[in-house]
C-alpha cells in the first residue's frame, strides 16, 4: 500500500457492451439495486471493441482495476466480438501477470441484459477484491522513479530542468 493514500478508494473503469451489460447496468439502476460507487462505466458497442491498448492506457492513467462486460458466448450482436475479447483477455492476463499486475485487477464477465443482479454482485465483489489489493497507482510510481533523473538535470542544466520537470 502507498502510505500516502489514507483515504484511498478503489477506482475501476468498466467497459460495458451496449446490447447486454450496459442495459443490465441500467436495469440494476431502475430496479434500485445498490452497488459500490467505485466503477466508472464506459459504453462500447461490443466487448470486441475493447482494444487491449484501452486497458493498458487505463491502468497507466491511474485506475486500480478494469472490468469488461459482454454478451454471453453465442449472443454477441456482431457474432464473434466476445470471442475476440475472450482470447485477447486470456493473453493479456498472462502479460499483465508478468508485468506485476495482480489477476483480480482485470476481469471479464458475460452479463446479459436481464442480469441486473449480476452487475451488482460482480461490481461489489470486484471492488472488495481490489480494495484488498490496495492502490495500483502507476502514475505515482512512475513519477517517483523519475525523480532520480531530475537530480542531474538540475546540476547540469538548471534552465532545462524547469522545461522538462
Amino acid at each position: 500500500m502507498l502510505s500516502s493514500d489514507k483515504k484511498w478508494e478503489p477506482r475501476i473503469i468498466a467497459f460495458f457492451c451496449n446490447w447486454c451489460t450496459y442495459t443490465a447496468a441500467d436495469l440494476a439502476g431502475v430496479s434500485r439495486l445498490k452497488y459500490a460507487p467505485n466503477v466508472r462505466v464506459i459504453r462500447v458497442m461490443c466487448s470486441g471493441r475493447v482494444d487491449p491498448q484501452f486497458i493498458l492506457h487505463v491502468f497507466a492513467s491511474g485506475a486500480d482495476g478494469v472490468l469488461i462486460g459482454g454478451c454471453h458466448p453465442g449472443d454477441c450482436h456482431y457474432s464473434e466480438g466476445n470471442y475476440k475479447m475472450l482470447r485477447r483477455f486470456m493473453l493479456l492476463k498472462r502479460m499483465l501477470k508478468k508485468m506485476g499486475i495482480e489477476e483480480d485487477r482485470c476481469r471479464l464477465e458475460w452479463i446479459s441484459a436481464a442480469e441486473g443482479e449480476k452487475v451488482k454482485s460482480v461490481i461489489n465483489d470486484m471492488v472488495e477484491k481490489v480494495r484488498k489489493l490496495g492502490p495500483l497507482g502507476i502514475p505515482k510510481r512512475i513519477s517517483k522513479i523519475d525523480k532520480e533523473i531530475k537530480i542531474i538535470e538540475k546540476e547540469i542544466n538548471p534552465e532545462e530542468a524547469v522545461e522538462h520537470a
Binding site: 482494444d51 482470447r87 485477447r88 493473453l91 542531474i152
Partner: protein, 324 residues
C-alpha cells in the same frame, strides 16, 4: 569557405550495432564526410567529453544518439549533447523505444545486480562484492556512474527532435536522414524518419497473407521448415509485421525469419505489444477457454515477444513492484 555543418554520433546503453550501421554506409560515408564535419564520435575517433564542453551551445547541427539510458553518466552526456546540438536524433531502437536493454524493466534493479554479481552460474563472489559508486583507494577517489532503477528511452530524459528507427537503422535510412538535414527542409518535430505504414505493406509475402489467418497453433521458427514464399503468420509463426512500422524493406522476412518489431509502431499505435496481441488473438480459431489456453502456450514469453524493442516506451514502462 564557410564551415561545413557539424555532425556528432554518441552511444549510451547499446550493443554497438548502430555504430556499425554508420560504417555500413560503405562508399556513401565519403559523401557524408565530404558534406559534413564529424566533430564527435567516441567509438571511431578520439574525442573527449571536454572537447564537447568547449564547443558553443547549439554549434553542432545534429547529433545522432544511439542506446537507451540506464546510468547517470549517460544522462549527463545526453544533456550535454542536447545543449550543444541544434537537432538531436534518437538513432536506433534503443534510443527510440528502449530497445532490448529495456527488457530489463521486467526486473528490479536489485534483482539484476544480484544475478549479475552473485547468482549467475559463471560467477564466484563469496565476499559479496558489489560495485559502489564511490570508493577510496590510496587516498584517491574512484567513482562509477549510478545505475538507475529503470531503463529509459532518450526522449524520457531529454528533448528529442527526430527518430531513426531500427535495430539498427538501415544505411539507406541514415543516408536519407543526412540528406534531409543538409537540405534544410526539415520534417515536423518528433517525426520518425521512416514510412508511416505497417511492414506488411512492403513485405514481398503480402499476397499470401490471408484476410482471416485463423491460427490453430503457434510455432517458433526453429520448430519447422518455413515455407519461403508464404506469409509467416499464415504458417503460425508470430510475425510482428502487422504492428510494426515499415522501412526496413522486410530484411528479416527476406532472410526467412519473422519480423520481431524493431521499427516500433506506426504513429497511430500507442502500444505496439497490445496492438499485435489484439491482432493475433482476433485470429485464433479456438473458442473454448481450454483450447485457447493450450494454444497460448505456444507464446511462452509474450512480454519478450511483443515488446522486444520497446518495453521502456510501452504504456506500462516497467514491471510493477509489489508495495512500492
Amino acid at each position: 569557405m564557410p564551415d561545413k555543418p557539424k555532425i556528432g554520433f554518441y552511444w549510451c546503453a547499446s550493443c554497438g550495432g548502430c555504430e556499425e550501421s554508420v560504417v555500413d554506409l560503405a562508399e556513401d560515408i565519403l559523401m557524408v564526410t565530404g558534406a559534413v564535419d564529424i566533430v564527435f564520435w567516441p567509438v571511431a575517433m578520439d574525442f573527449k567529453k571536454s572537447d564537447v564542453e568547449k564547443m558553443d551551445d547549439g554549434s553542432i547541427l545534429a547529433t545522432m544518439v544511439n542506446g537507451a539510458i540506464r546510468t547517470s553518466e549517460q544522462e549527463e552526456m545526453a544533456r550535454l549533447i542536447r545543449r550543444k546540438s541544434k537537432i538531436v536524433i534518437a538513432y536506433g531502437s534503443c534510443a527510440h523505444l528502449g530497445g532490448i536493454p529495456s527488457l530489463a524493466n521486467e526486473f528490479e534493479k536489485a534483482e539484476i545486480l544480484k544475478y549479475i554479481y552473485s547468482d549467475a552460474p559463471s560467477v564466484i563472489n563469496k565476499e559479496e562484492t558489489y560495485p559502489l559508486t564511490e570508493f577510496k583507494h590510496n587516498g584517491r577517489y574512484v567513482t562509477l556512474p549510478v545505475f538507475r532503477n529503470i531503463v529509459r528511452t532518450l526522449d524520457q530524459v531529454i528533448d528529442v527532435d527526430y527518430y531513426l528507427p531500427g535495430c539498427p537503422p538501415t544505411p539507406k535510412l541514415l543516408k536519407q536522414a543526412v540528406l534531409t538535414l543538409l537540405s534544410g527542409e526539415l520534417p515536423p518535430k518528433g517525426a520518425v524518419l521512416a514510412p508511416d505504414y505497417a511492414l506488411c505493406e512492403e513485405c514481398p509475402r503480402k499476397k499470401t497473407k490471408p484476410d482471416n489467418v485463423s491460427f490453430t497453433q503457434f510455432v517458433k521458427p526453429h520448430m519447422m521448415l518455413i515455407d519461403k514464399e508464404k506469409c509467416l503468420l499464415a504458417q503460425g509463426v508470430i510475425c510482428m509485421g502487422p504492428a510494426t512500422r515499415a522501412g526496413c524493406e522486410a530484411l528479416c522476412i527476406n532472410g526467412n525469419m519473422p519480423c520481431s518489431g524493431c521499427f516500433g509502431p506506426t504513429s497511430r499505435v500507442k502500444d505496439q505489444g497490445a496492438k499485435i496481441l489484439s491482432s493475433i488473438c482476433s485470429n485464433i480459431e479456438a473458442k473454448s477457454e481450454d483450447e485457447i489456453d493450450t494454444l497460448l502456450n505456444g507464446i511462452p514469453d509474450p512480454v519478450g515477444t511483443f515488446y522486444r524493442y520497446g518495453l521502456a516506451a510501452s504504456l506500462l514502462r516497467k514491471k510493477i513492484q509489489e508495495g512500492k
